[in-house]
């Protein structure tokens, strides 16, 4: 087979498409330029965060300047830490809750795919299509009546619901990869479902699957703004809400704003870079690997 294709390739008028050619260095240069261009607003954000406000407002914009940590100090002086803690708390607790709920659900829908479990999967993905704006009014009214406005647990519950469908679909795609033979062998040995789940399936999928799912949930929960801005105030407000404070004063504080934006984005950028390989799978809810 390989010999045959090699001979065919030798006869072919053009080289195989993926081979390195000298002419492709131009293409490489273009790719690099576009890549850096796309990244440039991010780089600019980081740079501006180390400028003094005077250096941030120049025409033409200044690429070289004397770096300062002044802006980062100002961001913390402005009371950034409580927002950071709220975000961290809401993100971590909701992600743990998502895993606790999604793992058994995903297990149940992947172990034997019949019509009913397909319906359940269908239901989960359809909740993702319900515009959040459509439920914000009752959520606000109910939260108000239960005295749950400006309470971090309101966000935790909503973020859990928001990420649950993604996690179920994603965990399912990992469960489907566990060889059937392992499960059958365990059943023959008389292991019950809970034991199969905790002692056989979980260790197999734990490392890759749960970590990747958790990272995706962290990204969405950390960046969430709509619920946060509408349902929280002084006590439970998260990092995106902190950034709202810059709309009104933006004319004066670009460098500080950039420092705040950098700090706010950093956790997710790190998570995303680590989870690069799993990002597609998570974003497509397990459909694309």
């Amino acid at each position: 087979m390989t010999v045959q294709t090699a001979r065919h390739a030798a006869l072919a008028p053009r080289p195989a498409p993926r081979k390195w050619r000298p002419g492709s260095s131009a293409l490489t240069a273009i790719t690099w330029i576009i890549g850096v261009g796309f990244f440039f607003p991010v780089l600019w954000m980081v740079l501006t965060g180390f400028k003094s406000e005077g250096d941030a407002y120049t025409n033409p914009p200044r690429l070289f300047f004397l770096p300062t940590l002044e802006q980062y100090e100002s961001v913390f002086a402005r009371g950034f830490v409580p927002y950071l803690l709220n975000s961290a708390y809401a993100t971590i607790v909701s992600t743990l809750l998502v895993l606790v709920l999604a793992v058994p659900t995903a297990y149940a829908v992947s172990i034997r795919p019949v019509k009913k479990t397909q319906d359940v999967l269908f239901f989960f993905i359809s909740t993702k299509m319900l515009p959040v704006a459509a439920v914000i009014v009752p959520l606000y009214v109910v939260a108000k009546q239960l005295a749950m406005l400006d309470n971090i647990w309101t966000l935790i519950i909503l973020y859990t619901a928001m990420n649950l469908p993604i996690a179920v679909w994603m965990m399912r795609s990992f469960f489907l990869e566990v060889p059937k033979a392992i499960i059958e062998a365990a059943q023959v040995d008389g292991a019950g479902l809970p034991r199969i789940l905790t002692q056989i399936m979980l260790p197999v999928v734990a490392q890759a699957g749960m970590a990747a799912t958790a990272l995706i949930c962290v990204i969405f929960a950390w960046n969430e703004f709509f619920f946060a801005v509408n349902l929280t105030a002084a006590r439970a407000a998260t990092v995106p809400v902190f950034l709202v404070g810059f709309i009104t004063s933006e004319g004066l504080f670009w460098a500080q704003l950039s420092a705040a934006a950098t700090l706010s984005s950093l956790p997710v950028i790190i998570c995303g870079w680590i989870a690069q390989k799993q990002l597609v799978r998570g974003l497509s809810m397990g459909a694309v690997k």
């Binding site: 294709t5 065919h8 390739a9 006869l11 053009r14 195989a16 498409p17 390195w20 492709s24 790719t31 576009i34 890549g35 796309f38 990244f39 991010v42 600019w44 954000m45 501006t48 407002y57 709920l101 999604a102 659900t105 297990y107 149940a108 034997r112 993905i125 909740t127 319900l130 515009p131 959040v132 704006a133 459509a134 439920v135 914000i136 009014v137 009752p138 606000y140 109910v142 619901a161 179920v168 019950g192 479902l193 960046n223 703004f225 709509f226 509408n230 995106p240 709202v244 709309i247 670009w254 704003l257 934006a261 706010s264 984005s265 995303g272 870079w273 974003l283 497509s284 397990g286 694309v288």
Partner: protein, 310 residues
Amino acid sequence: MTTLATPMRPLTQVEKKAVRREGWSRRVPLLPGLIFAIIVTQLPFLFTLFYSLQSWNLVRPGSQHFVGLENYVRVFTDSTFRQAALNTILITAGCVIVAMLLGIGLALLLDRAFPGRAVVRTLLITPFLIMPVAGALLWKTTMFDPTFGLVNAVLRLFGAGSTAWVAQFPLTSVITSLVWQWTPFMMLLVLSGLQSQPAEVLEAASVDGANRWQTFVLVTLPHLRRYIELGVLLGAIYVVNTFDQIYMMTQGGPGTSSTNLPFYLYQRAFLGFDIGQAAALGVVVVVGTIIVATVALRVIFKSFTAGEEA
């Protein structure tokens, strides 16, 4: 579920019990997640339906009373609603189409071996990871500012560059920042499509004398179709709900020129405190989404099951 397990002869009492127990042990792990999702996502919508038939202003206690379909009549005769619906369509379609075209281009560039490929890929996905609120704030200020922004600084090199982007072209500005955010998503999907192409097929095409363009149009593009559909649909689901960029960059303005449905609903509910009308607006949005989503879901579901067979 149990019918599938039914053998040819009638079950004995003991067997029936065993089948039932097995059915339950399969179903129980499903329940916590399912019940939670129903309570948090479906129940509130029933409330939305109920509120949409009420006249109720939050700042006037005791004003709540039944008005039937009056809120819906007000929604459909409201010119701001029509503007917001149109803007929602423009933003969603504009962002998804442009981001997908750019994503395909970038994916094709990345689908080759070249020095620093992993680095370029990492640079390209970063816009998707920036907190949307932070990204929108940056685009509004350091990028689009008429005097000190980078966009005009670059344009000044070519003799232009006096445009007040956000004020003059609010929709275009919002769409630009959304495209920047969503292109990496499209690129990643298309890239995994490209990389799942079997090498033998490409070789066979070149053996048959197809040139690179023919190979792309006749072999690669049909293979990518599923990935492109998936990207467009998932992208549209997220972008339809765009709120962060509008809130941070334009507040729906100037006037209502960049108001989309989520932002308009937010204005009715949290600035106008008009619970009844905001709820009716929500119901209309959901009905619209259901119509689009029913079509979309079919295609997606086909994609998912096709992916598992492959």
